[in-house]
Symmetry: D2
């Protein structure tokens, strides 16, 4: 069976998730499109890179991502580094003719994303952005219902992504709170997942009207090097603080090309919400509701159910729903974060071996950057911003 | 024990709810501030009025509301008629020196509401608007937490009111779909309850930015006289249809005087949502979540809970929470719609006998009308509308 | 319209619930079978009785229940006194030719219940036992599904009634903890509601096999006279304690005549459970689940739903479900404890005016006592007890 | 870093789960106790075995499990075959001095389990039974609360395991319905997981009193070789059926050594329940509730919470709860079935490298077999069966 060699740039939280997916994908989807081989992992120091290779099951390690990109044995470059490094790596990888999967958000803004898209278009490689949540089987099931017309024309979409890991003012100022590295705050970090849901399930967004807030204006400087997502507190008397220059919370109204309307909200300051990535969609013939915190379930209500037995059904995904052929043999054995990445890897490897387009790809990543830029512009100006059809102006 | 005579104008769904409250209030809150006496009920025909009196337990009936208003035996006028009649009746009742409770929304717009407020201010009577949902014990408990500082400074508010009784295009064109009678659609009918929650729990609203949609532009003309809320379908080959000129759905962003921000959404076209009146509030020290469909429960998360036992608590209201002294002796015996009205009646009678202000009163009703007007204006103009401090310009 | 005069014996928590139902029933169900007239209420002292009349809206009061029973104006005797007084009052009322509604459990045991049944059979009056929970619309909907064969032959039933008001060892020793007054503990007080559900929904019980426990063997003697259900604590240094001689918790396995099997559990020592009266029923063609704490909802799963949209539906009761013609016009406006009693009153008045049998009546109450006795016998002996077909041996 | 070579006997559903765990464990728990190396996988034919090796990432494959057991390179034998083969393989592996992890239930009955236990005791190897559900972080958190006394002395336990994959009479007669292969039905297959919860969380079981039912007495003979858990239907006109000789459903009452009491229920015929593995535990100071279908969450109620903020907390497991150091950095990123197996592997490898006892081991597996045997005996005899202290009589 064909094997594809992966060079992974970065060995943190996302590196772990992707590595599990490379190892597990063929166990779930068999015959696999190709076997992922963990060839080389890159981290910033020799020590970290060596450790990552041992931990994540890579055969080799390196501290020089350019070397890896140019290694002829490598088929796929997997970019799981902070946002500000995505563009440089991806463009170089494209030039080197490697297929690319890049963590989200794609770039620090639309301009940068456009360059990345141009690069992959020019080289003809496959390109993917890791908005993995849309691969939750329950979200794929929602897509199936919508495509089959089972909830009718969509009227409205409400999406949220609420977390609380930065609600504590003593949680450290990681790179996620610094504009030059992260691009934006809650918007780019988590809000873009909701934008991806909106585009995937409803359609193209044409206009946005937003508000943003930075609730905690300065945070303790992080002393350790690793992104701890706020779980390590750096408070105390003599802590050094620095400014936060990204949004803690964003709320936006959106209009869709097909006439639907909606709201998108994201915050990392919502006490008690952990990974509360939700949507509710109302259609002319039914409704859908999803909450990633209970990700095995999709709620669906069909308008034409008998009036004495109408109501939201709690459908547990499993063998009878999308990706069911590969996943666990009984619903609610349980989809975890790992499984969403396994599915993503499966679809990526299928796209590569079958030479089809992966979705979401850099085009989607670019459009999402345009939308994110428009959201920030709208919040600043206090008015609607039109996206001039937020699609791709790159051939 | 003191008795207060009620003259109730209207004998429909709301008349039933209020009548149950008059009968039941002293059973729950004892000693009662005063005993409500169902003196006279008014309906449009002799037959309807007579029937209403028998059904709702009134001693007398009438078809002439002016006569009832001027009856010196009557202490309180209860207005449970369609929205377009509120102003005339209330102003007359105020002039006649009667205390007034008026169903929501108070008026067809801010201008009319202002006149009503001026009238009650001039006469010195007690005035109440029946936003009863804030009297759900779980909502009162949320208010208590907030006032006691238990969730800290409020950052954001998200409120929705979703129903589905008009999602079917064949549900009849009742008065609720006609601007001249209802003033607005989902906004006035149900959205104003969310506005009431927002002001009650968070504070004054200063700016709004909205979208509205009329999803179903015409509906079958209703043949019967009674408001059936869409449960009677009038479809068929030869049905006569007429235009809907109010909103089916409204989405608005809001800014609060205290710096909080939020969204308010209301629709009657959300399949599967019945009386989905919800809020979620994030504060610096905790979060609250409420859904009227499960109205015995308030969800609260406290930031300072131990890290291995932190999460939303599902608190069932009962003897230990607001109004618990009067309600059922065990939590979850069950709060229904009736109980919310019983509490409202209790607070109204207390305000009258103790000569204090009832809240929400016509001032609140007026401010809510200003906000509703601003929401419609914002939706039309596609921009933020400032409320010039949405408080009362009536002395 | 016909009027039926009620004499109510007892003015406590249950008296309040019944009084609200008498006042409210015609407001919901119109034309009413007959108008309930609150004629006379009885309590133990003149002061209490007078107060009850004012509070509950009765025209008259008395301290002598025999006098009321023999008052020719009275049509219905409503018994809402502690369990040990039911038999004497009911038998006297039957002899006086009055229709009777008696709170549950019917008696202190099967023997006493049999005498009560014989009395009402002899006199030909209507007789009802107030297992009101089966009148929750969602429970009536479950019955409808079962009768229409929509979940097929029933395989198993699991019912629980969990509360926590007596989990605190300092909650007072009310009459509910004294065998001579209450008959039994959690079993009679709340477990019998589950037995009523089991018989109502599944069928006759033939065998039981039980365990009981008294977790808290002594409690503070109650100083006030009123049953406070544990919400008033009597703890402290010098508190006088006395023995509890009833069960705090009961678990029983049951076999049904139709081959189904199940469990019934009841406890008042389950921290965090308030009025957690639940059932889950599995049939050959579907399943049902209900939790009174969320009583507007019935969960139902149909086996023949499409495999990609199968799951429990959350059906909110309303206009399209049983009793919907009388209740609130939108689902989830809200069923409270009051509404269950209003429906019970409606069905009782219909039985009286239409001369049909009310269910559950004294036959059911007697059978439930037999089952309760068998449960206690089983727990004591540690073995299955057969009920020799737990039906009625009274002609 | 130390490496341990695994020989896995069996390549089906469970083989997949274990293989994912071997690959993923070091990614989560680092430094790992030792690196699992997938050395050899065994299946019944050369074709299946070769396929399994490629799919599951093993270096070698074999059709001869004895050969693998005797391979000196192998450190650990992993038994993921049907129940009737466990004993022979495990005893041979013990004699060969290999550490053993065996899928549950350990054996076809207590007698066989005893022999297995004797074998591992004699050889001194580490031994584990794969009751993986107790490694769900939320279950481990429940254990932590209990051990820290946070819910006080335990009064009662209610556990269920409900599935619906065999509710359809046309689901095939896999080995799971044949006594000679499976030992028992729902009891051994899933009920034993609940028994494991009961012993893990509450303590030793001393007495059982049970009922069992075989609802569907014959099923279509399975034509394919692979266990499809009922998802492939074999119905049709000319289907060949054969008898089911195991239980479809089991209900048992249990008594614990420490005075607690409870119920355990298991069925694979509960429409709409997928992997509904639940427990509810009431203690003197609090309560716990868990449902594996929502496995990221543990419900806990503390009796000493303030009376106006008391209720079940929904705690999402994550960095602050057991195993949080290794799992995902934010709660609700999501625990799936894979993660439970990764944790199990971690604890097994730790036990091996640190020379401590793994729990649950063959002693536990043996005790659970004794309990299962007692449950079947009780159901047959219709009476309580005492377990003579269900602990281990093997030195």
């Amino acid at each position: 069976m064909k094997k594809l060699n992966v060079g992974m740039i970065g060995g943190g939280f996302m590196g772990k998730a992707h590595s599990l997916a490379y190892a597990g994908m063929p166990m779930f989807f068999w015959p696999a499109p190709a076997i992922p081989h963990r060839h080389t992992v890159v981290d910033v120091t020799e020590e970290l890179a060596k450790d990552a290779a041992a931990r994540l099951g890579f055969d080799n390690y390196s501290t020089d991502w350019r070397e890896v990109i140019n290694n002829p044995e490598i088929d796929i470059i997997d970019i799981v580094t902070p946002n500000n490094t995505h563009a440089e790596i991806a463009i170089a990888a494209a030039k080197a003719g490697k297929h690319i999967i890049c963590e989200k958000p794609l770039a620090l803004g639309a301009e940068q994303a456009k360059e990345m898209l141009e690069a992959v278009k020019a080289s003809g490689v496959k390109h993917a952005v890791a908005f993995n949540y849309r691969r939750t089987p329950a979200v794929a099931l929602a897509k199936k219902y919508i495509e089959e017309g089972r909830i009718g024309k969509i009227l409205s979409f409400r999406g949220t992504y609420l977390q609380d890991w930065s609600a504590d003012p003593n949680s450290p100022l990681s790179w996620r709170f610094q504009k030059k590295i992260a691009g934006s705050g809650a918007l780019g970090d988590i809000g873009t997942h909701v934008v991806d849901f909106a585009r995937y399930l409803v359609g193209e967004i044409t206009d946005v009207n937003a508000m943003t807030k930075t609730w905690i204006s300065e945070r303790p400087v992080q002393t350790g090097g690793i992104d701890k997502l706020g779980t390590v507190k750096n408070g105390g008397e003599d802590v050094v603080k620095a400014s936060v220059d990204v949004d803690d919370e964003v709320i936006t109204m959106v209009k869709f090309e097909n006439g639907a309307m909606g709201t998108i909200e994201a915050t990392r300051n919502a006490w008690g919400r952990n990974n509360f990535l939700t949507f509710e969609i109302h259609g002319e013939k039914g409704s859908l509701a999803f909450n990633y915190e209970r990700r095995d379930e999709l709620q669906v209500c069909f308008a034409d159910d008998p009036s004495d037995a109408k109501g939201f059904r709690t459908v547990y995904t499993g063998p009878a729903t999308p990706y069911g052929e590969g996943l666990w043999p009984i619903p609610a054995l349980g989809i975890g974060y790992g499984e969403t990445k396994i599915i993503e890897t499966y679809d990526l490897f299928k796209a590569i071996t079958e030479d089809t387009e992966f979705s979401p790809n850099f085009e989607d990543g670019y459009v999402i950057e345009k939308i994110a830029d428009a959201i920030l512009e709208s919040a600043e100006k206090g008015q609607w911003v039109n996206l001039e059809k937020a699609t791709v102006d790159v051939k």
